[in-house]
Homo-oligomer: 227 residues x 2
Amino acid sequence: MSSTPAKKSLKKSTRESSSKTQSKRIEAKRNKRKIIMQAALDLFSSNGVHGTSVEQIADLAKVSKTNLLYYFASKELLYVEVIQQLLDVWLVPLKGFNSEQDPIEAIANYIEVKLALSRDNPKESRLFCMEVVQGAPLLFNQLGSPLRAIVEAKVQVISDWIKAGKLAPIDPYHLIFSIWATTQHYADFRVQVEAVTGQSLDNPEFFAATLHSIQTIILNGVRPQHS
Amino acid sequence: MSSTPAKKSLKKSTRESSSKTQSKRIEAKRNKRKIIMQAALDLFSSNGVHGTSVEQIADLAKVSKTNLLYYFASKELLYVEVIQQLLDVWLVPLKGFNSEQDPIEAIANYIEVKLALSRDNPKESRLFCMEVVQGAPLLFNQLGSPLRAIVEAKVQVISDWIKAGKLAPIDPYHLIFSIWATTQHYADFRVQVEAVTGQSLDNPEFFAATLHSIQTIILNGVRPQHS
DNA sequence: GTCTATAATATGATAGAC
DNA sequence: GTCTATCATATTATAGAC
């Protein structure tokens, strides 16, 4: 976040291993890994794993190829770490609502959170999409049960709402999928949305209009209200 | 479709170039190209272009690598042809409804057509998805204006319906995107849907349930009906 | 048209100096 | 930790016999 002071310039100071310099080193290492992973995410998400070379990542991260392979033993391992980090970003907002909330409000809010995620983390969304589209060779070993658990919790909440008459009797699974699909669409199919409308979620007005439209469609449907 | 008789065995019959054998040859060539393109679609859609080697395609199509490159000058060109063929499949069902139809019926029907497309052409859907997610380097030169034209025509129809009070006042663009997103989701995110529900559109009951759910959500919304 | 080399390159990864 | 070779391999594509 803060600007890096100068770039470390000294050779190793002959075994000066105070805990202070140690932690500095560790932090520097962590930071560099972070930079590399960010570059990797950029490229993986727009060219795929196989469409991205280690050298490209190294260039974007401004390290040498050899140096990158010092921090990550192989391209595969780098990819795995990027995917793992991605899941953290991904699973949090899914843990949204509970049955005490007002369903309409909760769903509207959930749509907003997910759409904001598409706006703020489009690369993560696209990489996730690519992984899943390709059968998620890597992803679903790890993702499988936590995802099912989260979904089942939500399904339960939705079922409760329906039983209480607070929601129309729709299949909870498909409702969840519909929300995911519609919101992620604006990140994953961004170029198509742009080709058709000339707009993207980066434009606050378009974001607001999109949010309102999705909320209206899912909550009220398109059938005209009989007055 | 029909079983291949034996495999052609004769050497070239020393310049026998009747129009009959000519057309046979042309058809054979066309057929072989088709087989190769099918194999290519299979692999491209699940591994991406860069994740697929010419050799893999050749193996799946049961031709030699050299032979494949006799029919398609390069992997790139093969890919381009696959994508082009894909667009034919893709754009047809988009030309659905016109303003004389009943909007509710037309939209319900459009959802069904699109969901059936996800069931019957999942590989095309996924390859299209991958292309778009990656920024559609190839696709949007060709797709750009025809797509916009189709969408604009539909937007017009929807606007007419809204003006006539036959549809709630929702943004036509986002309605179209919502239908695309929700229906394509079951092809593109198939492994995720399976991971969560254990089902896919191949199961007729799941198809029916999915169709009904999407139609209900988009037409009626999830808000409970006040009696 | 189909095959057997084989060229030409790109790319992942390592060895070893500093 | 970082660099300069360099290896090893995979892969696209071509040349030329049949």
